[in-house]
């Protein structure tokens, strides 16, 4: 695995681009990986192109949106599941005992 800071600019661009578009397939973790991968490099090497900044930044934004949405959903689900009763049984992985 080549370290990100040794990569050429084109390589970084292509990878971050692919990761960015790949993330749209319900893969927020890929976006986050993209950000983790290239954010330090962007800080170390200021002269990189705007496109990379764009991809990395929006990957992070996308990932955070996903995380927030998921968190909201989980909270809503956990707090309201007793209220909703048996109507949402199909959502459970395993129906909790008790």
């Amino acid at each position: 695995m080549v370290k990100a800071k040794n990569m050429s600019e084109e390589e970084i661009l292509s990878i971050s681009k692919k990761m960015f578009y790949g993330g749209f397939a319900f893969l927020p973790w890929l976006w986050l990986v993209n950000w983790i991968y290239f954010n330090p490099v962007l800080k170390q090497r200021p002269g990189l192109s705007k496109k990379i900044h764009f991809y990395v930044k929006w990957s992070f934004v996308g990932a955070s949106i996903w995380i927030v949405v998921l968190a909201i959903w989980i909270i809503v689900f956990q707090t309201n599941r007793t209220k909703w009763g048996h109507k949402i049984d199909f959502l459970y992985v395993t129906i909790p005992r008790g």
Partner: protein, 616 residues
């Protein structure tokens, strides 16, 4: 020109040579001192003979002389002047009682020198002498510019020796005595410096090794801890309420061929149980053997695409299915009200990104994390079998490992040979994946560039070769070590070419270390302290790392596996096959099914064993 004139440089030298005869005569007197003072000679700084540091006993006379003028320390080279003055101080206070051993050595050395110097040498006429000197100077210049070839180096040494002899035989007895005295002092200083260096080197080695080992052991410990965690998490509930239902679930889900290996704990020991588990283990091993041959065939007939597809599929399934199983068991046993939506998203992300990171690109940390996770999942799934199955499986795995690697028709050996002979790359993923059932430690180079610690003038570049009793690379060890040497050599060459001002490189090969399985190559880079050292060395290191990169790609055709990996892990020198992870983790996870005491004692035993295998 008095005899005390020290530190003549080449320029003055040249002037001298071109001048009239008396000056030549004068110079003849001085010449020895000049050469003798090559220690302080700035131009000589970069002359580093590629040979063993402690060349005291069995060196030829040639080398002796050679050493004498260029055994300048790699780390002291930027304070030559200080060194010089220190030498003077040291020489004025030689009355300090010497270590008897050192004294004896010194005397011996001087005797030897005397012998060498007074051995007959052909007489020179003036013109011949001038010519000879000219030649010598040319070589010296070449050497200073680092364009010298080994033959020329030899020649240089010879020239130097002849000149020294010639001059020695043409000076007065007092001068001779003084000269010898000076020689002795230099030799002594050199010895002391050598000793210091050795000590320093040893400490560096130690530090390096401990770092290496900790970098290996950390992931192993992590993997083991994860496996223990999985087992404990699922096991706890197992003892509380469900009574081995989880284990049933895992086994029957994971492996179709182990349907009848679940026995109740309450059932008494019987031979059928043993046979049964043996059969189960045999079936699994059979699968592994078939898989090995399939991989071999695919590799041999160049279906790398299919191979990659297979591996990607395998990894995906491993993370996806085993991870899902584990999660499902956890959700089930801990009564977590989880919804399908979250679970699906979570598993999709985990497995798809895992495949991407492992097979394509990704941050090294995350990649390592995935590998550890994968191994721990694998280990966990293996512990799901009945008691004896696991043990039989482990034993059979070890046997198969030995057969596959050491037999002439062992598939893995064939595979490695094939890749060597055809200049074909073993895909990295294959190495990882094959190592799932292989106890093997791979050889990797650690190349650390200068920017890590700028304060230190020298850094160790080293390649630790470790060896495991039942490793894959027993027979490739030689080749790998030679390839690493190639690599380092070529790296050195490039460095020399490009920034010969900033880097001094020394390769210290002690190949003939008696423990043949751990041949270290020490590459010391010492950088000159400049005004803008910080920035310069940073850029240099970046450049050089890139260069090594390119270099690797050049070399790729010969030694793909070693080379392509060598620059990958800047952080990690040695690489442990995933097989080790799984193997150790299975052992410990198995133990973790009982109680904590067993778990910890097993863990300690395994880690001790691991450390020992790394050391020896």
């Amino acid at each position: 020109m008095s005899q005390n004139t020290s530190g003549l440089n080449t320029k003055e030298y040249k002037e001298l040579r071109q001048n009239s005869q008396e000056e030549l005569d004068n110079m003849e007197d001085n010449k020895i001192y000049i050469d003798n003072n090559k220690d302080n000679h700035t131009t000589h700084r970069n002359y580093r003979p590629i040979k063993n540091q402690d060349s005291n006993s069995e060196v030829t006379s040639n080398n002796n002389n050679n050493n004498n003028n260029n055994n300048n320390d790699n780390n002291n080279n930027n304070d030559n002047n200080n060194n010089n003055s220190r030498n003077d101080i040291a020489s004025s206070s030689t009355s300090v009682p010497e270590d008897p051993k050192l004294k004896k050595e010194l005397d011996e050395y001087i005797e030897k020198q005397k012998e060498i110097l007074s051995s007959p040498v052909k007489e020179f006429t003036k013109e011949e002498y001038g010519e000879y000197l000219n030649e010598y100077e040319r070589l010296l210049k070449l050497h200073t510019e680092k364009k010298i070839t080994p033959e020329q180096k030899e020649e240089l040494n010879e020239h130097y020796q002849t000149l020294a002899k010639f001059q020695y035989q043409h000076i007065s007895p007092e001068q001779k005595k003084e000269y010898l005295e000076k020689q002795r002092r230099h030799y002594k200083e050199r010895k002391i410096r050598e000793a210091e260096n050795k000590k320093k080197e040893m400490y560096d080695n130690l530090r390096y090794y401990s770092k290496e080992i900790s970098s290996i052991i950390r992931p192993v410990i992590l993997c083991i801890c994860l496996s223990i965690l999985w087992v404990k998490l699922t096991n706890k509930v197992d003892t509380q309420q469900i009574r081995s239902q989880d284990l049933n679930l895992i086994s029957s889900n994971n492996n179709d061929n182990t349907t009848n290996n679940q026995e109740n704990d309450s059932e008494s020991f019987d031979i059928w149980k043993l046979l049964n588990s043996f059969a189960n283990a045999g079936i699994i091993i059979g699968n592994i053997i078939i898989a090995t041959f399939v991989i071999l065939c695919l590799f041999k007939y160049n279906h790398t695409k299919i191979l990659y597809g297979l591996f990607i599929f395998t990894v995906f399934m491993l993370i996806g299915i085993f991870g899902y199983n584990l999660l499902y068991v956890l959700i089930d046993t801990y009564n977590i009200p989880m919804d399908w939506f979250t679970l699906t998203i979570f598993m999709l992300n985990l497995s798809v990104v895992g495949v991407i990171v492992i097979f394509w690109k990704g941050p090294p940390r995350i990649q390592q994390g995935y590998l550890v996770l994968m191994s721990s999942l694998m280990a966990f799934s293996l512990t799901g079998f009945a008691d004896y199955t696991t043990w039989f499986l482990l034993a059979l795995l070890a046997c198969w490992d030995l057969i596959a690697v050491l037999c002439p028709f062992g598939p893995l050996k064939m595979l490695v040979e094939h890749s060597d002979s055809n200049n074909q790359m073993i895909p990295q993923a294959l190495i990882y994946s094959t190592m799932v059932w292989m106890m093997a430690q791979d050889v990797r180079i650690k190349i650390k560039d200068n920017n890590e610690n700028n304060e230190n003038n020298e850094n160790m570049l080293k390649n630790g070769l470790t060896h495991n009793p039942s490793t894959l690379f027993d027979e490739c060890e030689a080749s790998s070590s030679c390839s690493t040497k190639e690599l380092i050599d070529s790296k050195q060459k490039k460095l020399n070419e490009k920034n010969n001002e900033n880097y001094n490189i020394k390769i210290n090969d002690d190949e003939d270390s008696d423990i043949s399985n751990s041949s270290d190559q020490i590459n010391e880079i010492s950088s000159e302290k400049g005004d803008n050292l910080e920035r310069k060395s940073l850029t240099n290191s970046r450049r050089s790392s890139r260069r090594s990169h390119r270099n690797d790609h050049d070399n790729n055709n010969n030694r793909e596996t070693q080379d392509s990996n060598s620059d990958d892990e800047d952080e990690e020198g040695l690489k442990l096959g995933l097989g080790d992870f799984v193997f150790y983790s299975v052992l410990i996870a198995r133990a973790a099914m009982h109680d904590w005491l067993t778990t910890f004692s097993c863990a300690i035993a395994v880690l001790t064993g691991l450390t020992l295998t790394i050391f020896y």
